[in-house]
Amino acid sequence: MGIVSSRLPLALLLAAAAGATARAADGDDRYVAIRCGKLITGTGDEKSGVTLLVKNGKVELIGEKIELPHPCEVIDAGGMVVMPGHIHAHSRLSLVDFQRPGMRADLKVADEFLPAPGAFTPALAAGFTTLQLVAPGSSGIPGRCMVVRTADGGDGLVIDDDGAIKAHLIAAAQDRRMLAEALTGAKREIEKRDKAKAEFEAKKKAAEEQKKKEEEAKKAQQQGAPQGQPQGQPQGQPGTPPGGPAPAPGGPKAGEPPAPPAGAKPEEKKEEAFQPPPIPPQLQPFVDLVEKKPGTSLFVKLGGATSYLHWLELHKEHEVAHVLYPEVIRAQGYPQAFSGVSGTDLHWIADKVGENKELVVLAPWTSYTQGSIDLVNVPAKFAAAGARVALTPFSDSTDALQSFRFQVAELVKAGMKRGDAIAALTKHAAEAIGVDAQLGTLEPGKEANLIVLTADPLDAQATLDQVLVGGRVAWTRGPKARS
């Protein structure tokens, strides 16, 4: 991110200078220029009449007047709107659904990822260029997610095969215990490892000291017996652990033949490396999580508002990188005076979610307040309170994918700020699946995964015209329709 942002002003500078330096295309470089009627970069900027230059699948330049290199493919989207491709943060496309109960953080979606040709076409045809494929099931900790492209733009499909750990926190009586156990278990493992390491270091130190003394003693013996005599007694006392004199590290174990003194040197080299105690594979991802290893985060599926409070209590003890995915209950059902409709309670925690600057993935729905038909716009409330809201389709169905932009537009009609909605489609969505360094916005250096729409994305009449992945056209709506 830092690199990208430092390059941005430079790029703008270059763009601002009318007729930027002409470039002779290298033989291997592949250039695509997209003339945009309007460009929604996802960074908060919306520019009209700019050209976006793509080099080898990455955004190279954005500017009003860019001298194009040669050769360069030109896509004319002059009357259209270009924006980053949509991101689906909770997909199971191409995967087979099954329940995977219990704590199985050792399992990876990547291991079941064998997409059939055309498996992602429904997503592509709705403007989705990136999917987070989540671990299956609706309880427990079913495994690690992965992030893929919906089309191969030259870099393959997989973006991250070791993605977020999915965890559920819906039925707190089971889920919270399991999650707490996983996190404390990881801490235990870390402690165990640190302790083992400390012991190892201590032993090593002791052994070295002993060796030194022995060598000194040897020297003394070699020099002359009278001097070395008193030093023989306290041998091995200092530095040894309370368990008694430690055996030489890596030294002979019971049943093994004693190491030949001649081969001491190669063995010493072996001793240098610390072998950490094995960590159970289920806990390894949580160890990474607790140690804040980059790229490891928790994707937490929450139920209602109360489960967020449970999350806060967990998080107080175990501060880890996380993305929340609370369940928004869709406002539907025929409201009668004496038969209720299901409703949400998420808006009651909007303040807290905003205060904690949570990164929240939400379905693009308005809901009823519990026990009534008062409409409440949870995404808008969360965004207004200061949370980073990412919007994602409610499922993988064609209906969910195709109506996605429309539903987001409905949220905006119902009071969500346009800026929040665009960020929820672009920047925050990429952050939510941990690929914001390379995706989510259209800035120099980022992947040119973008969509071309016939109108503004929040316009109900907007139609998807083209989808580009890695600067290559991955989907178009057909020459007939476009002409």
């Binding site: 039925a171 009586a173 919270r176 209602g304 508002a305 109360t306 409070l309 209590e313 009651w348 519990q370």
Partner: protein, 490 residues
């Protein structure tokens, strides 16, 4: 939660408005610092106190500052020490910190104006379903659920669920679980059960006797063999040493009588749920010190007409038990919050159910206790909740009329010192009964001081209502003021 933020904003202005110098009858928790600030006091003057607290809690630097809430100028029914008219209850960090007339609230306190209203301890349901979650309540309760608000609107602040007691902490998990393992549930009906229970109690008592002897000998440094607790039921030991509360579910006079005998013989703490025919053996239950949980409303229906002694149900059950010294707690017939239009005497109508005990002859004060302090005793949580006393949990409800008035509505419910329900903020009963006219909406702007004094003077005559009838007054008599209202209504 929502209104808390607002009232916090208003707190400063209102606190000064309500401030009255010289706390006349103020009482303070022994260990706590004096919370009241004289009317003229500026926030600066309070700093020493705060600093002291900070020093105490130096380790907890992250902890938020003290959480204050003051309920101003209500008629405080303490259920422990009578009624304080026009008194203020100050809560600090979820506990009752001060009670008294003419108390001032600390400047940073959130305030509730209870002028013209009645403050009671929150009601306690000794049995419930669907209000908090099943055990473990702290993990299964939906604190934003409709039933949580509904329960508070009906006056409940603590409910037993299974063998745990949970609070209706709307919007927070903090302090939700009050206590686990409320009772040791015992069955004492069939011959086998009775034999087993007696055997186990006997063994436990024998062990305790030997243990006492051993301790005495040991104290005198005499040789003795330490008795081994093998084969002795640990729970019975806990029971006999006063560490547990036995719960029986019994209905007939035979069962109740035998339980009374057992409890008298072994001397442990016991409660009986049901006790339909408690009135028949009320003297035995009273002597055994057993508390009873009953549902007052029932017509006189004989259980078995062939029996040559009183039997069956009666509306006088509560009164007759109470007359024999039995502590009575009341629970409506169906221990859940109904959603039907039929009022099935469930958790929606606690006060009407208790009023029916009054119909059967129970004094009003005892009927109020049956929903509060006695219910707390039945759950063994009376050290925490059930009355308005210093140091107890700040679980309070503010009603527009006296608790047992059938028209009374809960206007505010406070749980752990947090405002958990405000009738005007919730659509539920909002349209039904407006706040009493004496109530003054907190004003965000501080009015001039002279006016304040005038207001105070005006309030005083309004407070000069006839005192409540004494506890031992004849139960059937409705208070005189009610009749007058009736006349006016005509």
């Amino acid at each position: 939660m929502r209104s808390m933020t607002r009232s916090l904003l208003l707190a400063l202005a209102v606190a000064v408005t309500a401030a009255v110098p010289a706390p006349a009858q103020a009482t303070f928790a022994e260990d706590a610092p004096k919370p009241a600030v004289p009317s003229g006091a500026k926030p600066d003057e309070k700093k020493p106190d705060e600093k002291k607290d900070e020093k105490k809690d130096e380790k907890k630097k992250d902890e938020k500052k003290d959480r204050w809430l003051a309920i101003l100028n209500g008629d405080v029914h303490t259920l422990a020490d009578g009624v304080l008219r026009g008194a203020t209850v100050v809560c600090k960090n979820g506990k009752i910190h001060a009670i008294g007339q003419g108390l001032a609230a600390p400047a940073e306190a959130a305030t509730i104006d209870a002028t013209g209203m009645h403050v009671y301890p929150g009601l306690i349901a000794v049995n419930s379903g669907g209000v908090v979650g099943p055990e473990p309540v702290e993990l299964t309760t939906d604190v934003f659920a409709y039933n949580m608000t509904f329960g508070l609107a009906c006056g409940w602040t603590t409910v037993a669920s299974g063998n745990s007691a949970g609070k209706l902490t709307y919007g927070t998990l903090d302090g939700l679980l009050l206590r686990n393992n409320l009772w040791l549930r015992m069955s004492y009906q069939s011959g086998d059960e009775r034999r087993r229970v007696r055997d186990e109690l006997e063994a436990a008592r024998e062990f305790l006797r030997k243990k006492r002897l051993f301790d005495q000998l040991k104290a005198q440094q005499l040789p003795a063999e330490e008795p081994k607790p093998e084969g002795v039921n640990g729970e019975m030991l806990r029971l006999l040493s006063g560490g547990a509360l036995a719960r029986f579910d019994a209905f007939t006079a035979e069962d109740l009588g035998s339980i009374a005998k057992l409890v008298t013989e072994y001397g442990f703490k016991a409660v009986v749920f049901g006790a339909n025919e408690g009135w028949v053996v009320a003297d035995q239950l009273g002597r055994a010190g057993i508390s009873c949980v009953i549902t007052p409303m029932t017509a006189r229906v004989e259980r078995d007409a062939r029996l040559n002694r009183p039997n069956g149900s009666t509306i006088e059950n509560a009164a007759l038990l109470w007359q024999h010294g039995v502590k009575v707690a009341v629970i409506p017939e169906t221990p859940r919050l109904g959603s039907d239009g039929m009022i099935d005497r469930d958790l929606r109508t606690p006060t009407l159910e208790a009023a029916l005990a009054v119909r059967g002859g129970l004094p009003r004060e005892a009927a109020e206790a049956a929903l509060t302090i006695n219910a707390a005793r039945v759950l063994g949580i009376d050290d925490r909740v059930g009355s308005i006393e210093l140091g107890k949990d700040a679980d309070l409800i503010v009603l527009d009329r006296e608790l047992l008035d059938y028209e009374s509505f809960v206007h505010y419910a406070v749980v752990n010192g947090r405002l958990a329900y405000d009738k005007d903020k919730e659509p539920l009963f909002r349209a039904l009964r407006p706040r009493p006219s004496t109530y003054q909406e907190p004003k965000p702007v501080e009015p001039p001081k002279e006016e304040k004094k005038d207001e105070k003077k005006e309030e005083k005559p309004a407070e000069e209502k006839p005192a409540d009838p004494p506890a031992d007054a004849k139960p059937a008599e409705p208070p005189p003021e009610k009749k007058d209202e009736k006349k006016d209504g005509k």
